[in-house]
Amino acid sequence: MVSSVIFFLLAGFAIACAISLVYHKNPLYSAISLIGVFIALAGLYVTLAATFIAVTQILVYAGAIMVLVVFVIMLLNLDEDKPLNRLRHLYVIGAGLGVALLAQTFFIFYAVLKTPKTPAEPDQLAGSPMSIGLAMYTEYLLPVEIVGVMLLMAIIGAVILVRKMEQPEIEALSEDVSDKRIE
């Protein structure tokens, strides 16, 4: 009973924050709403006995990623979105497509739930850091390595994207290269 009440409180908070994320025009309000969604989801992970994931959710999402997003919003000093008049008649079609997507999602979950399932043993807690670490470094070592390479690519890509290089600098670089070729 208590866990059901906690679930519905957290679920309602998450949905309210998600709607507020889409509704608000000011990107900073949207960012704060998104932090609310992340915290509600971390609470839901605790109710699912996945405490390690819950802590990581707070650390990585609410900590690192949202700090980066808020930092960029502050840095660019963004205005609110201007009201859009040009495509207003398409809102009805957009709402219809959203409802269709919701129905499709529920149909997929219904089809999944129809398949026979093996009930989990109550004492088998899959959320401990030890079971996750064991799976990560034995059975799923290759995906973990691929994720590591992907993070390295992201670091290099971000530095190259944001680096500011003036046109004369690029020309000077290419002149250096051609000089060396002549020598």
């Binding site: 519905f8 699912l48 957009g94 959320g127 996750i132 990560m136 992201a154």
Partner: protein, 101 residues
């Protein structure tokens, strides 16, 4: 009494749909980015709830993969937004309609 698997999946579906509608509805590039993060989190909730109800840690392991992809996406995506803002003094996705400068 533990809430059933169905209620977690319903919440996940609702959050995913709100995120997808937001991606279509928002015109601010950072708003679109945040809605994509919301969709990723809805999928994470599905992973964790199935992992709990089948008693298998693999689902929680893949939540880690999704989080790594989200972190890489944050770094590269915000880099693209800043580079775009330098060229156009705007982050409106309508202004990004040409593929060269």
């Amino acid at each position: 009494m533990q809430p059933s698997l169905e209620s977690y999946l319903a919440l996940s579906g609702i959050l995913f749909t709100i995120g997808a509608v937001g991606v279509i509805y928002k015109r601010n590039a950072i708003g679109v980015f945040m809605c994509i993060e919301l969709m990723l989190n809805a999928v994470n909730l599905t992973f964790v709830s199935f992992s709990r109800y089948y008693g298998d840690a693999t689902g929680q392991l893949f939540v880690f993969m999704v989080m790594s992809v989200a972190a890489a996406e944050a770094a590269v995506g915000l880099g693209i937004i800043i580079a775009f803002f330098r060229n156009r003094i705007s982050v409106d996705v309508d202004d990004a309609s040409i593929l060269k400068f």
